[in-house]
Symmetry: C2
Subunit: 374 residues, 2 copies
Amino acid sequence: MATMNYLTQCTFDFGALAHLPKVLRGAGVAAPFIVTDPGLKANGLLDRLLSALGAEPAGIFAGTPANPTETAAAQAADGYSASGADGIIAFGGGSSMDLAKAMGLMVSHDGPFARLGATQRGVRFITAIPPLVAVPTTAGTGSEVSPGAVVILEDGRKETFVSPRLVPTAAVCDPELTLGLPPLLTAATGMDAMTHCIEAVLTPVVHPPAEAIGFDGAERAMAWLERAVTDGGDRDARWHMMMASFEGALAFAKGLGAVHGLSHALGRIHELKLHHGTLNAVILPHALAMIGNAAEAKFARLRRALGLAANADLPQAIADLNARIGLPASLSAMGVTVAHWPGARDYAVSDLATLTNAVPFDAAKYDGLFQRAL
Amino acid sequence: MATMNYLTQCTFDFGALAHLPKVLRGAGVAAPFIVTDPGLKANGLLDRLLSALGAEPAGIFAGTPANPTETAAAQAADGYSASGADGIIAFGGGSSMDLAKAMGLMVSHDGPFARLGATQRGVRFITAIPPLVAVPTTAGTGSEVSPGAVVILEDGRKETFVSPRLVPTAAVCDPELTLGLPPLLTAATGMDAMTHCIEAVLTPVVHPPAEAIGFDGAERAMAWLERAVTDGGDRDARWHMMMASFEGALAFAKGLGAVHGLSHALGRIHELKLHHGTLNAVILPHALAMIGNAAEAKFARLRRALGLAANADLPQAIADLNARIGLPASLSAMGVTVAHWPGARDYAVSDLATLTNAVPFDAAKYDGLFQRAL
């Protein structure tokens, strides 16, 4: 039985940032609180947001870490509560947007934060959060339109929070904000979008509209990502990659798979500070190779969408793309060692994304995936 | 600047009807009022709905005409108000669903109904209507997920009403309900879905997710409609055609085009009682021929989606499909004469769908389209 939900409102194009005040008014926000990260404060993008805003925000939290944590969200929540804000602007990549969602949950829900997590079936407890307007500055996560947030809890787990209430009230997607994104971050976030599209397409969950969007997003990422990496000022490439990111998140309304299961499990290893998109990029070819013939019809349609020959080696085509855009070829190259696996294995198996993988994935399968990707 | 909205919840599969009580509870409806048509009362489908409901409804209006009218909606509204209902079940094809939406507007909005119409920019005045659960019994209109309703006003205009508030709260799509649909109605409603997908894809409005869904729906309709017409009991074909219908309405979030402009204009001619889907089917090849090279990139992708050769004549392929599934080849064959044109022309030009046609369409262009299709 397919249950399908689509829910978003998005203003999308070069120059969209100028529409922010109107979008905030539409969302009923008079005193916004901005959640962002130190990099955007340093590189001047936050100033452009403030300039577009045209008025002082109620407050700013610019301390989002590379992977959002419960601790940082709690600090942001204190700032929000003290500020008199009536809504949230999430400004940045997936980390800022997810942290803003976590903060939104904290300021509107009592009790331990962890009980709201998906592995605790927390969706039962999640009610409205303050109005949230998302303004992405990377093209990959799609968090501006997704019902999810991934946060490292104080107990060390990387937990997913999922609820229709976490879909931002509105998104303002301005590719202009991504023109200065360095090549490596462009590549890594772009492959996050690609992975969303491909894993969403491959899950057995029945949701043809989301699947159609996933195929389109994958086609778009294959056509434009390399150009965006090679020439960051290519406006067409930036537009299409931001759209691929948006489409990836609409697509994964269907669910994700083992790439994300393993990526989340490794992403929580604090000392490594691994980038989520890079992890996805490295793991994706190996997960595809393990799915192989089990999804032949979808592989065929993916080959067609990606512009590959009918008999092309799909996993190899992804690995080749990774190489062309300068991403590492293995987890080892990112600093992961076999010693990291025992502490990550169970997190991968119990990750929400594992439930919807193209083929059933247990601990033994994850052992194999980790070894291949290492 | 693209503004994108998706908004629906749909329970979709064989057996979905059994979920109706749960869906109603989820929508907060304890005392539903059913809007349907005389045919479904006569053929026993209404009894199946009542049986799935498990409790007496607050009331039933089974007087939906072939093309919904303001007069009939007002009668239904009287029934609704007298019944003590707290929500609506729209049960039937596009006419019942659109009439239910019109009735919902009437019981929750004061003042003349016509002021709420799209040509009067009525969306400004449209606030919440009672919760509405749509249960389609045909596969074509997609009204179960669309923000629109088309109603013949008392002054004779065929007006479109559009608002996010008109998207049904939930849809229950059970292909089982379409197994008994006769071949001609299967063909005509199926071509309505096909037309939605193709016209939506071709509008210049930028909305890639909706466009991807439109391509997918067109591919699905081409692959399955003929089978559904040939063997009404083919469950796979019925499933896919109901999905194509659903996708068509998600796609036309982008807008429609001149096929619908002309179809609406002719559909309001009372004495002819023309079927909307049949009109679309007959007009579609001619509108495509008039668009021609102006949309070559999209034509190429449509050919690919429809499984046609790269140099295939797309308008002819649609005309051929019409012939194979037993639909008329011309408006004349449906009873339309040149004498009908002067009274319809202005309605076509001012129709909402005309605004988003693939190429600008004025009165002279409509003269040409009418003559070709006649």
